[in-house]
Every structure is written in structure tokens, then in C-alpha cells.
Amino acid sequence: MDIVLQQLVNGLTLGSVYGLIAIGYTMVYGIIGMINFAHGDVYMVSAYITAIAIALLTFFGIESFPIILIGTLFLTVAVTGAYGWVIERIAYRPLRNSSRLAVLISAIGMSLILQNYVQLSQGANQQGVPTLLTGAMRIEVGDGFVQITYMKLLILFISLLGMGVLTYVIQKTKLGRMCRATQQDRKMASILGIDTDKVISTVFVIGAMMAALAGVLVTLDYGAFDFYVGFIIGIKAFTAAVLGGIGSLPGAMLGGLILGLSEALFAGLISSDYKDVFSFSLLVLILVFRPSGLLGKPEVEKV
């Protein structure tokens, strides 16, 4: 019993991280119909910016954890957002009217460029940040106990907060309305005066910012990272986006949580060696019965 609960907690935090990154995949797909294969590497870049931000803040003599946390979040989210904007500008916008395949290749190229750029500028070795938040709470369950580190609680809290704020922005604000209109009918949106290029840029920035939130949280929790960490977590988050229904914002969050939970439960109860096999099998199974994902809508052929 305690192990199930423990893995539920682990799965929830892992899933919320997947969900945060999946948002970038799903929003970009929703608005321009491309899979941004460089998105995982944007996450990777944010891990390095996290380390740089922490180093900078401690260099200026700041030692209080809440201030370091808020400062790091702010710096990392802002700089990673700028990366998102630049990537769209140089790698995707010039290809706006080309075939989807051209943009896809450009994305793969961007992914390689980011990995090599980080490897060259930061070195190929694994890097790390010190553990800043220690301690955990224990809850007695029958004979055993469930242990939740404060860091895991923080991950859960900030991820859910980030998703909540984003959902509000998309559903209730003028910016969100413009994003949704552009997603549904780009031509009509421009006829009504929306600068759709600007909206698309904004979506890339939002996606990068959400990935940066995940980057800060995971880096603080896990400590170590290298220039290749974006690949596997990017694939997982992409899986989460497809699972939830690519193009759907709540779908990405739900997909992330389901993937994280199933992975953690399988690893804890059956075999951690086969956890990825299990989560990808789950994806295949869901797609067999719901080809457009859990919350996705069947593709409507555009005329």
C-alpha cells in the first residue's frame, strides 16, 4: 500500500513536468501544425540557464532559498522565452509557406544546433547544481510510510500554478482569444486585423517559458544535467502531448499526468527496466482506440 502511494506521488510530480513540456509541443502544433523537434533542447538550454542563474545569484551574495528560487525562475523563464522567440524567427518563420517537411527538417537541424552550441560553450561534461532545498515530510501508512520531499511538493505546486495561469490566459484574456482564433482559422484571423505572425511568435515564447519552468524545477531536484538531457524528456513530453490529443492544451496536461503516473506505478510495482516500454505501449493502445488522443478532436479536413 505504501509503495503504491509513494509511486503515485512520484508519478504526479514526474507527470506535471511532462505536462509542462508537452504544452510547448501541443500549442505549436495547434497553431502551425508542426512538431517542434527542437523543443526538448529548449528545455535542455533552460537547465543550463538555471545553473548560470543560481551561480549569478549566489555570486551576488544571495543565500536565502526563496529569493534564489524566485530569481532563478524569473531569469530562466525570461531568457528561455527569448530563445523560443529567436528559434521561431530564424528557423521556422522563413519557411512559413514551404512544405511541412521542410519545417520539420529545420526543427531537427535546430535541435542539433542547440545541442552542439551548448556542448561547445559549456563543455561536454555533466554539470550540476547544489541541492538547495532539503528535507521531506513523512506520512505513516499502515506499517510503512510515504516520503514526500519538499522539492517534490514545490515541483507539484509550481507546475500546477503555471498550468493554471496559462489556462486562464488562454481562456479569458485578449491574448488567449487571439491565439485561439489564429489556431482555428489563420486567414480569417488576419482578415480581422490580428497580426498572426506575432501570435505565432507568442506561442513559441509561451511554450519555451513552460519548458523553462520544468527545466528549473527538475534541475533543482535532480542536480545533474548535460547537453543531451532534452532528448529523452522531449520524446516523453511529446508522447504525453499525443496521448492527450495533440493541439489540445488540457490534453497535454492530462497526457503528462497519465504518462508520469503510469510510468511511476509500473516502475515501482513491476519493473523499472521496462517502464518506458510500458508507457509507449500505453500510447499505442490509446491511439488504437482513440486515434486523435484522449481530448483531441478528429482532424477536420480544411478546405
Binding site: 485561439r180 482555428q184 480581422l192 478546405v303
Partner: protein, 235 residues
Amino acid sequence: MISINKVDQLYGGTQILWGLDLEIVPGSITCIMGRNGVGKTTLLKAIMGLLPIKSGEITMEGETLNKQSAEKRAYSGIGYVPQGRDIFPMLTVEENLRIGLPVRSKRTKDSPKDIPEKIFELFPVLKDMLHRRGGDLSGGQQQQLAIGRALVLEPKVLILDEPNEGIQPNIVKQIGDVILKLNAEEGLTVILVEQKLGFARRVGKEFRLMEKGRIVAADKMENLNDSLIKQYLAV
């Protein structure tokens, strides 16, 4: 108002518009008519900046539109209701109407926050449906929403592409009344692509007949006679 000079337009490898000239008189209601496939919708799309033209010039009140993006043209005062309406299906009626408010606030002194009451006076049904999704509306209601949404921009020219396709007769009449009212009371210039002769005669003041990507006849609506109809419209 809108002047089109010697416009050539190619779609894929096929030339659709051939040196097309068209002059829209301010304050008029101009019906562009012709058989299927003569290039009426292509012409409208070229005016809106949705399709690039190969050569020629499109101007609005003396300002060249050729290189302007579609969203810039919205700011210069052109409202467009496309064939098939193109309502944002997952946005509510209210959100559909609000999309044009930033353009409106640049073009008028109205509050940039509120949908003008005029829209609901012209189309009362939109007020009742305010919180329904655009995709849940009937065809006629969607058409009223599409016209209302274009009017939010406070355009000088309203362009309508077959607004009556697949719509029940009482709404067709209502749309005709709205066009005539806006034209009479506010001097709104209207360009209308229309296949139905009855509606065109009731609403239109001018006609332009198209064939093979050119304007082949242009006159006042009362001069649209049977020989022209037989030559260019009858199937």
C-alpha cells in the same frame, strides 16, 4: 474608392484574372456577377490580400494595397465576409465579435472594450446567442455573426461573398435589409458577389459582369437586361 488596374492573378500555373479593371464608386452597392469559375472569389481574395497578384495595382482611397498584409488591410477599412462564413467554431459568439475590437479602437473613438450596440440592433439573435459557440449556430445565424463580426471593424467597404448560399429565405431578406440600411444610413460601400438575380436586383445599385477573369459589362442595376443575362449569367 477601391480601384483595380490591370490585375493579373495566377493560381498554381493557371491564370485566373486577366488584366482586370474595376472601379468601385464610394457609397454604392456593387454586385459582381458571373457564372461559376469566372474568378469572382479570386478577385475578392486578391482585394483582401489572401492571394498574391502577379501584376497590376489594387488601391483603396489612393493608397496602394498590393504589398500590404491582410491584417493591414483590415486597418485601412475593408471588412470581408467570406463564402462559407468562416466563423471561429470553438469561440463563443461574443469572442467572435471581440476579435475585431483592436481594429475598431484604432478606427473610431468608441471604447475598445465593448462590442458596439449597433451590431445587436441589426442582428438581435446574436445577443441571445452571446455565450454559445460559433460552431453550434445554424447557417443563417452564422452568416449574421459573420457580417456582424466584419462590421465591428467599422469598415468603409464591406465585401460579401455569396452571403445567401444555403440560408433560409427569411434570413436572406433580413440580410438584404441590413445591407440596404447600412448603405442608406451610413453610406457604407458594399461589394457583393451574388448568383441569385432576384437578390442582386433588390439590393444592388451597380452591376459588374465577369467572364474568363475579366469585367465584360458594367452599368447601373436597372440596365441589367435580358440579353446580358442570357449572354453572361444563364446556364
